[in-house]
Amino acid sequence: MHLEILIFIICTWVLAGLVPILAPQNKGDSTSAALLITSSIGIMLVAGAAINRSFLVTVHTQFCLAGIGPAFRFDWLCGWFLGVVAICTIAVALYAPSYMRHLRHEANARIFWVSLVILVAAMCGVITAANAITFVVCWEAMAVSSAMLVFTNHKERTTRTTGLIYLAATRISTLFVAGSFFWLHAITHSWDFTAWHVTGSLAMWPAILLVIGLVVKAGCWPFHLWLPAAHPAAPAPVSALMSGVMVKTAIYTLIRIFLVDHAIQSPVASYVLVIFGLITAFWGVIFTFLQRDLKRLLAYSTVENVGVITCAIGVSLIATQMGLAQIGMSLEIAALFGVLSHALFKSTLFLAAGAVDITADCHDIDKLGGLGRRMPHTMLCTLTAGASFCALPPLAGFATEWLLLHGCLQLALASHQPSLRMGALLLLGWLALVGALSMATCIRFIGVVFLGRARSLKAERARECGPTMRVGIAIPAVLSVAAGLLAPVITRFLAGLICPAHPTLFWTLPTGQLVILMFAGGGIMAMWLAYRDKGMPLLSVPAWACGGGISARMQTTGESFAQPLARLFGAIYRYDIEVRFDGSNARLFPDHIEVETHADATMESRVYIPLLRVIQRIGDLIAQLQAGSIHAYLVTMFATLLLLLAAAGYYR
């Protein structure tokens, strides 16, 4: 039965890839989308089956790498991640056809659809791969297809540059992951994930290599720079899929190797994960706060969320190593739930950002504003997703954050080591700081884009997007509400999967009571207000603007909203604000006031650009050897020969 579904899924993928190639330009979009949705439903079925009972699918082929054929394992962890992939794919597939219609002059829809299908297939492959060879092949397919998608709008120069940055980042990631896998193979003489059990001092270096490789792919600090570069360039559905799911494949691998299979047991790796996670979360959120580009802002917020999830995995490992298996498990659930909730709200946010981008033709938040009136549906979805992003109860983001913070608190209570206890408490404080910052970000994002008055003509002309796009935006938003409300059930379910022997209750918050009270209290108040408004009609007057007429330019912009906090963290941003007064009486009656702010992406300007310059210089030196002079080549060869001879003589 499973095999039939799998074959069916592969057939739909192949069809979905072929249709846009065979159909005339831009005609196969809807068919392809429908086929992708069908295959996603199939993926969900497989996911359900895998959660129910794990099974292995081995493909016997003549040609295989390293003597190992492709093999796929389906178990509960795969099931969970496959479900996430399927949900996001459905939303994206619903959304993409109309979105691509807007881009038809700039992009080639055929390449887009083929790459999209390959990306989805490759992600499923990465998630289900049973051995390292299959994994790396799928990992590469995923990297290449997603790079193709980033290049969709390749006629623009910036897109090409950012696409190359992304490609470089994925190369580096693959290098480290493959290096770690080779190392592990050398230790265990096996490519099978299940056969790997490396502990002790042997485990340290492969673990660190693997962590670095995965962290590059996940977009952790200091390797995060491909995310804010690639996302603004890629089309919105691609950003949604990449940030919602593709980044999660790295998280999946972390959970798979370290938490579930215990393939590598290395205490160092867990501390490295926690530290990476904490810095990433903070770094991501403070840069989110300063961004003006709609999608770059969301890309930085993905950096933050990935940091929080990585941190959860690390703390879970530490707790397990300390012998506090219960707490380790609850933090593992936090990480898994975090993957789901982040995939849901981030796809909504990216898809909504894409809708704003195409209807208002503008992605500078300081030129938008007041879109809530013109796009009420998009605003509602964004608001829901934003509230989930800020971890407000009772949404999915809150469930994640609660599990994580409560786990840390329990760790602090249960451990007997003062330093571990203090560490857990500091973690709590740090995550609270990140939470507060992410809420400031969210108020800024929604407030500036959707509320108030339109700041430009383009924003005034924006209209609500088409029905299929709206459904695509709404699906993940609705699901994130549902996941938040059903958090107790889902948590218990996950606990049962992780540890079938004792599925103890981890969700100890009385969600039911709270939700009932919330709806009852809010409902009564809302009804009272509605009754009052009915009895006495609302009086609508112009807003008070100190006597003058109100104009859109009086509003707080994203830039000015960010100012107090940007000053506070000025050292990190290298934030600078310059105010100039002009006019005959500049002090009292200036004719013209100019405010200019300046901030730097410190990591890029301080580390990467100098680093690149050094590499460039080394390259220049090497290039001198290849000057085209035959004598230079001969001398080089001769010198190499001599060196080799000398080396051979020495080692003899």
Binding site: L409, H416, L433, A436, G452, A526, R532, L568
Partner: protein, 306 residues
């Protein structure tokens, strides 16, 4: 549900309706007396509420659905806060931990912040921006201080605050330091003196008030009541920590002690309002960092207990 908890629930609900008005009234009249003015009556806030609730709503043209519904959302969040925190000296009707408490506060903050951005005035946006800047300090301080107390009490649940401490090996400074930290948070959150001038009419110096400038009628009434409720919950929480080791005999004595201390705290707040001057906005981090440092040291002392 046993009889005691039923009575507790009733008392909590009743108190959360009466106390906000009473505390705000006492605060205002005390402050006026200290400044040698006669001041309003103690029950004036209640009359204000009733008056506002009967009035017609005046809305600005610029506002949308978020502005209209934000008071409901934020007051609901505060209502839940009042039900999960044992601020009245009685076990809270719903058992929850400090994380839910902090995130409910965040929900209310987000609702008011977005409503302020929805007014499309410069004041609203400035208020929202400043409030979120303050929350960067308030939220970690609150989490750290409350978790220090949780470690000290040996339980993550807020209701453990009013129970006998499980382990008494901890340092005696944990609770005072946590109280100091939460007091600073409370000052920042309830617009009290060194942080914000509660009686100012200069929009440029406001933080919380600036976000509410456009509200009127029943919605303003809800927002004002919410401000009172915030004050009540914070002071009740502080009172619990102050009497933690002194009065734990019976629920009645505990309740009485809590109420008395809450009144004392309100008088203290009035004195502080009179004595201190408002700090410059850019100097606030200097003060709020003290809250953070106090809570960090409290955490350290709590973590060292074993």
């Amino acid at each position: 549900m046993s009889r005691i908890s039923l009575v507790g629930l009733a008392v909590t609900v009743l108190e959360s309706i009466i106390m906000p008005f009473l505390l705000v009234g006492i605060l205002r009249s005390c402050r006026s007396r200290l400044q040698k003015r006669r001041g309003p009556r103690v029950v004036q806030p209640l009359y204000d509420f009733l008056r506002l609730a009967r009035k017609q709503t005046v809305l600005s043209d610029e506002t949308g659905p978020i502005f209209k519904n934000a008071p409901v959302v934020s007051l609901t969040a505060y209502g839940l806060v009042a039900l999960v925190v044992p601020w009245a000296g009685l076990p809270a009707p719903i058992s929850a931990d400090l994380i839910l408490f902090v995130f409910l506060l965040a929900a209310a903050r987000m609702a008011t912040g977005l409503a302020a951005m929805d007014t499309s005035t410069a004041f609203g946006g400035m208020g929202a921006s400043r409030e979120s800047a303050l929350s960067i300090f308030v939220e970690p301080t609150l989490v750290l201080a409350l978790s220090a107390v949780a470690i000290y009490q040996g339980s993550p649940w807020l209701n453990a605050l009013i129970a006998t401490p499980v382990s008494t090996g901890g340092s005696a400074y944990v609770l005072p330091l946590a109280v100091a930290a939460i007091w600073i948070c409370a000052a920042a959150e309830t617009a009290r003196m060194p942080i914000e001038d509660p009686v100012t009419h200069l929009e440029l110096t406001m933080i919380h008030e600036a976000q509410l400038l456009e509200y009127s009628g029943p919605r303003l009434a809800l927002m004002e009541y919410q401000a009172g409720l915030k004050l009540t919950v914070y002071y009740g929480l502080i009172a619990q920590m102050l009497i933690n080791e002194i009065v734990i005999k019976t629920p009645i004595t505990r309740w009485a002690a809590t109420t008395t201390i809450m009144f004392c705290l309100v008088v203290l707040a009035a004195i502080i309002d009179t004595v201190l001057v408002r700090l410059h906005w850019r100097k606030l981090p200097d003060l709020l960092a003290f809250g953070l440092a106090f809570s960090l040291v409290a955490c350290l002392l709590a973590a060292l207990k074993g």
